[in-house]
């Protein structure tokens, strides 16, 4: 108990801050911060597995998040029958051709010795394959995108409950991680960082551009929800009764019947959105707890010990007969898959998929700040980092505004410097993150909750 005191203290302070937001701002804001904190926590756990357990830098978190989001669309949206009949066969045939191409290249690489001719043949297959695939897919894509472009213009998905996408998103992200890992994991650490950064940009470019898949920048809105809708809740009896019960003391003060009714209606409307957010919180909390248990178990298992050995001294681990390349690939896939889950969760919560909103600063570098600040190698630290950094990211604007008003209190309200500073309040969050990261890296390089290895 004693040795975990700092963990408990840190989490209690964090929860206290969120509760304070609930009391002083509103429970709606507090809960939406809390939900995004939970999603961030899942992302940081993914990044922490790669960086903290194995020392791999993955700057492609944005790409894996977007793939998770893609999974949410492809699973939950109802299939667009017209689009399928218009161009589905072309797309499926192209998909088949891509698989055939990959298999052919694999076959050649496996069965022939390395030579110039082999390189030329592989290059020829790839170039020819791309030309043929473009030739076949183009009419299909055009036909699909012409099916009611304002509303659909894409193939749609499978029409399943969106919750399945959390698993599928993990598989998507894991699949991409497998491909990247095969190509790039042999590189030195900072090269891997650059390579993953570029790959994630490509993933976003594809999702933005291929309208037949996800409508591209036209966004997909109105995704299905795992939680009830506010409008429906507001008309259900048990919910209205619940709200009445909760607020009975407040409502009893109002004697006038019609006034009482309007007050109750107001409370029901507020309550319904809080209730929906609570549903999400519950779902996310389950994911976070399951992942936390699994990652903690893994950390203290023989496998976790091996990973730490590889991280701390690759050559020694290799000499002990551990397959470093294979383990790196495995951990890269696992971590990315977790990030994929988070991506699907994020789209589930928002109810919409906007490829244009994926920016490396928000989805890659911010997550890294969370991992470093929280404590790399320590799962509790990583989760705490997700909470602290997201909380600051959101509350940076009010804090910045307060500081600006404080420092420029002597100036006139129309003074150009004051006006300019107040306009640029949103950017104080970058400053805060940067300075925070630098300070933590300098004075507490292992994060708020440092890695602790207990030998049991």
């Amino acid at each position: 108990m004693r040795k975990n005191l700092n963990v408990i203290a840190a989490y209690s302070i964090m929860m206290g801050l969120i509760i304070l937001v609930g009391i002083f701002q509103s429970w709606n804001i507090a809960l939406s911060i809390f939900n995004l904190c939970l999603i961030s926590a899942v992302m940081t756990m993914g990044a922490n597995i790669q960086w903290g357990y194995a020392g791999l830098i993955n700057f492609g978190i944005m790409g894996f998040t977007a793939l998770g989001g893609l999974a949410a669309v492809l699973i939950s949206v109802d299939p667009v029958q017209e689009a399928w009949s218009a161009g589905g066969s072309n797309i499926l045939f192209s998909l088949f051709l891509i698989i055939a191409m990959v298999l052919a290249v694999r076959y050649i690489l496996k069965n022939y010795k390395k030579s110039k001719n082999r390189t030329y043949i592989v290059a020829a297959i790839i170039i020819l394959g791309i030309v043929i695939i473009r030739f076949i897919s183009e009419p299909g894509i055009e036909a699909i995108e012409n099916v009611e472009p304002a509303k659909t213009g894409f193939l749609g998905g499978l029409g399943l409950p969106i919750i399945f996408s959390w698993v599928v998103g993990a598989f998507f992200a894991g699949g991409l991680a497998f491909v990247i890992g095969k190509v790039a994991l042999g590189l030195r650490a900072d090269y891997l960082a650059i390579a993953t950064l570029l790959i994630s940009e490509i993933v976003i470019a594809i999702i933005k551009h291929e309208d037949w898949l996800t409508r591209g920048v036209k966004n997909v809105i109105g995704l299905k929800r795992p939680a009830p809708y506010e409008v429906n809740l507001q008309q259900t009896d048990w919910f209205i009764n619940l709200v009445e019960k909760f607020n009975s003391s407040k409502l009893n003060l109002i004697s006038d019947l019609t006034e009482r009714q309007t007050a109750l209606n107001q409370l029901v409307i507020e309550g319904s959105s809080v209730f929906v957010k609570l549903c999400y919180s519950g779902l996310f909390l389950v994911v976070v707890i399951i992942l936390l248990i699994l990652t903690q178990k893994a950390l203290y298992s023989p496998w976790g010990r091996m990973m730490r050995a590889i991280r701390d001294n690759e050559e020694a681990a290799n000499a002990m007969g551990k397959n470093v390349v294979k383990q790196h690939l495995l951990i890269f896939i696992l971590g990315s898959a977790i990030v994929g889950i988070a991506g699907a969760m994020l789209v589930t919560q928002d109810g919409l998929f906007t490829p244009g909103s994926y920016r490396p600063l928000r989805y890659t570098f911010l997550i890294w700040v969370m991992v470093i600040v929280g404590g790399s190698g320590n799962n509790f630290g990583a989760i705490l980092g997700g909470f602290v950094v997201w909380f600051l990211w959101i509350e940076a604007a009010p804090i910045g505004l307060y500081l600006v008003n404080l420092t420029t209190a002597g100036l006139d309200d129309t003074h150009f410097l004051k006006v300019h500073l107040i306009e640029s309040v949103p950017y104080f969050r970058f400053l805060m993150m940067g300075v925070g990261l630098l300070v933590i890296m300098r004075y507490r390089p292992k994060g708020i909750l440092p890695e602790k290895i207990e030998i049991k």
Binding site: G55, I57, E138, V183, A184, L187, R188, A189, D190, Y191, A193, I194, A195, L197, L198, I199, E201, I202, A205, I206, K208, H209, P360, L361, F365, W368, V369, I372, L421, E423, S424, Y427, F428, R429, F430, L431, M433, G434, V435, L437, L438, M441, R442, P445
Partner: protein
Amino acid sequence: MVNMDFVNAIILLLNYIFVPALAYGSQLALGAIFVTLIYGILRFANFATGDMMSFGTMFVILFTWYFQTVGISLGVFPTALLAIPFAIIFMVGYMLIIDKFVFKYYRTKKSPPVQLAMVSIGVMFVTQAVVRIIIGPSDRRFFDGEKFLIKAGEFKEMTGLNEGLAIKSTQVITIIVTLILVSTLFWFLNKTKTGKSMRAYSDNEDLALLSGIDPKKIVMTTWIIAGILATIGGALYGLDKSFKPFTYFNNMLPIFAAAIVGGIGNPFGAFLGGYVIAFSEILLTYAYRKFFMYVLPESMEPDGLIQLLSTDYKFAVSFSILVIVLLYRPSGIFKGKVL
């Protein structure tokens, strides 16, 4: 007539591919040399590259505005050229301050390069915040002076061809300034004592220290050169296109690709790498329809755009080149550090 078509086709390629790629390549080359110098001498991948460039450009813009309000101008040349030296002073100052308060600690502690790369992300956030707080995130054009050296219409009249060749003065300025800057840099690195000791330090730190080279001086010179490169590279890009902090941040990716393709740690490789990336990005995303309309007889004219890749995929081009180079020549086209 067929002959004329051929000339038209060549002018078309010059106008839409060769000249823009040369200008864009020069801008990337300056950034890539910046990355490669930091990597070779200070030994880390600087993720703040793009934002440092935007920081320098911001000062160029601020000084340009100042000169414009005072009424100083260079006539046909953009005022920004006059502002660059002043901006460089501020930029170098900023870089030396950052080095003193941030990077120096990790250098003297001999932290692994990965940790320095992480620290550079902190610097990236801070620089980005400062740029956005001072000048804002929006798109800014600060070009003034004569816009075109040759206008498309004038060229058509002059030669009687169907295709016009427009050469923007910014493109010419970019190429000339880059050539002057890069040749001075290579002269400095190869002929002067400080330059030679920088190369020695990059090659083998211990040996260089042993032969009495002062590491403090090397580091300071590196930051000063880096500041000059970042400011001029950023200003040229901004003059040619426009200044927007987010675009500069994204430019980091092709710049990194150029540095790695050229062999990281090798300035000459980085210089050529910039052009390799620029030319392949533009060659692969250009729609060749009109070109084929000129070259091929009428019966064989193409229907589609004949575009290999849509322009959205320009990152994909730099990345594919990067992967191919890393798979077949891990040290880059020109031998850099073996990784």
